[in-house]
Symmetry: C2
Subunit: 372 residues, 2 copies
Amino acid sequence: MRGAQGDLLRLVATGQAESRAELSRLSGLAPSSVSLRVEELLDAALLVEEGAGTSRGGRRPRRLRVSPTAGLLAVADLGAHHARLALLDLSGVPLVVEERPCDIALGPEATLDWMAAAFDDLLRSHAPPGVPLRGVGTSVPGPVDPATGRVVSPSRMPGWNAFPVADHLGAHYDLPVLVENDANLMAVGEARAWPGCDNLMVLKAGSGIGCGLIVEGRLHRGRGAAGDISHVRVRADSSAMCSCGHPDCLEAYASGAALMGALADQGFAVHRPADVAALVADAVPEATALVRNAGRLIGEVLTVLVNFINPDAIVVGGSLSGAEPLISAVRAAVYERCLPLATRDLEIAVTRTGPDAALLGAGSLLLDAVLA
Amino acid sequence: MRGAQGDLLRLVATGQAESRAELSRLSGLAPSSVSLRVEELLDAALLVEEGAGTSRGGRRPRRLRVSPTAGLLAVADLGAHHARLALLDLSGVPLVVEERPCDIALGPEATLDWMAAAFDDLLRSHAPPGVPLRGVGTSVPGPVDPATGRVVSPSRMPGWNAFPVADHLGAHYDLPVLVENDANLMAVGEARAWPGCDNLMVLKAGSGIGCGLIVEGRLHRGRGAAGDISHVRVRADSSAMCSCGHPDCLEAYASGAALMGALADQGFAVHRPADVAALVADAVPEATALVRNAGRLIGEVLTVLVNFINPDAIVVGGSLSGAEPLISAVRAAVYERCLPLATRDLEIAVTRTGPDAALLGAGSLLLDAVLA
DNA sequence: CCAACTTCCTTCGAAATCGAAGACAAGCCG
DNA sequence: CGGCTTGTCTTCGATTTCGAAGGAAGTTGG
């Protein structure tokens, strides 16, 4: 997909533009040039014209959409014990989403080969005939070196250190391959649901604590560990040692794993972070108190970051995001301690995208790679 | 200066390109197009050819420079009690730099009118005849709303709240006018001296504590207060109330003002932050201990930000940057507590640009506005 | 000293892009 | 219903940009 056309296709695929006129405004190209390119894209069956849009006072625009036959993306959101898998069309709309159990502790080769087989399975059963696969992507629950596509010293992925995930997955396909941290992909996916918010912090509160950072509309990767807040030292009464070797890391108090541990000690049967959220929904006082405290600790850490980054919104996702006291406690801490200028128009809210955020994010980044 | 030509002129002015070939590589334009545009810029006397560069194995490039007659920028770095003023040529090289006493407590009108008079004075005495003034810019020691050019709730600028600095200064000139926070401008100025470092945190340790953040090579403004670390709560033995109404802000322990206060209490005659650095240079134990503690506190705050942003370098400037123990203590704290992935290639160093960083930064941003 | 190679820059026809003008298709309104 | 306004899309000549080829001015190495 060569440059100029790629830009136009991307604008349509991401939903930013629906008509030739909008394409002209957003791409900076002259209306005549846009018409030419669109004509070519229609001929190539990558775009289709689909009825007319709503008038804004004049002639109605002829609505453009990415053709459903233009191609598919296979994406996965890889967790410790299960993976969400999906096929997306080029505009990022899921054809099918499935959750399947898996175990990343079996190591990278086994897991990635399993994933490739699962993709093949989905393609066989759900892909319309003749529609080509155009890209493959997955999240991993650990840092990824943006330069090499390798996992780097992941704490929750035994056996994966320095494994070239992108290369191994790419060996199955002659296609663009994307490998990115789970919280980062979640942030990218969420970002599309927050138009006008160019600076976004997306917290993933699951069994670990992660954060993805969107700056000026683009994912900030840093050296691969950007967005890490797990190992910030927090103000705590007791003293807990973290696996990283430092005392009183946020993760040791506020992660889903830590909360599960504390609840298990009190005799509750919790096996997944969602169980914690369920206890909170049932108004179990012990769970609510723990979650609220976790929210406070997270909020105090975010305080520093909000003052420094001045995001437009903080979005909370992950399996604990359903626990209302978590969000409330984060809000309370941030609004109390941050500079008024930083919180004046700051929104702190729960995910708009839901559990598929990372899948949609993978689609979004893959689209860029496919149209490069 | 219309678009395509502006881009080329900017590349030469910023020192990124010195020959037509480099311009072609960096701008993405075809060599033939570059030759055409450069010819026009030479005709317009905005560029000049100046001898030949060094060969890289083939024909020597014909070195291009921005003409000294292309224009001037008048810039200021406004402090509480004195301002640094400079005239720069379009490539950001100072013709003259002066420091003059002033007092921002006299209010915005008086200060800005004084500044305009000082610019006129410099232009009369140092500007070559016939060279036009093309832009005016100043730093202010407080947050600036990027949208409106107004100062927003500045703590060290009594009487300036919500004052439209850019508009008032612009009334004297029919030119691009730039108003930006001092630490931010310092960061922009410093960034040019760190090629290859696209993500930079620049700490200004003066009578206050500020920080400027460069992400992907561009200044991150947020809502105007981005880069603020003054009001982060720190782990302290005693309990100090900050002017912001919260206890134990970093500013209350680690700012130049706080250090001056503590030293004055111990009978030392200190009137400016530089006096603190001088005491440290003289190895006065009380001063060294205080500064080292300040560095530790600052470093602990930076820890959170380094994990989150993964910058390529942390640069320390401001009048306390000459105090070696400050940097050492920052280094110690950051390297001890941060993730290995985040610190592996992280450089923590003192300013390469020196006291003129903010002036050069103003020149850099102004150039963008002039060539827009 | 003389090929052989590199790199820098320009020339010139081909191709892409632009921009102004107009055709087209609505909504608005008396 | 028939002008009027507004916004969308296309046509076509003018302009800009490209790209391949070649000349200019070096270095390198026998």
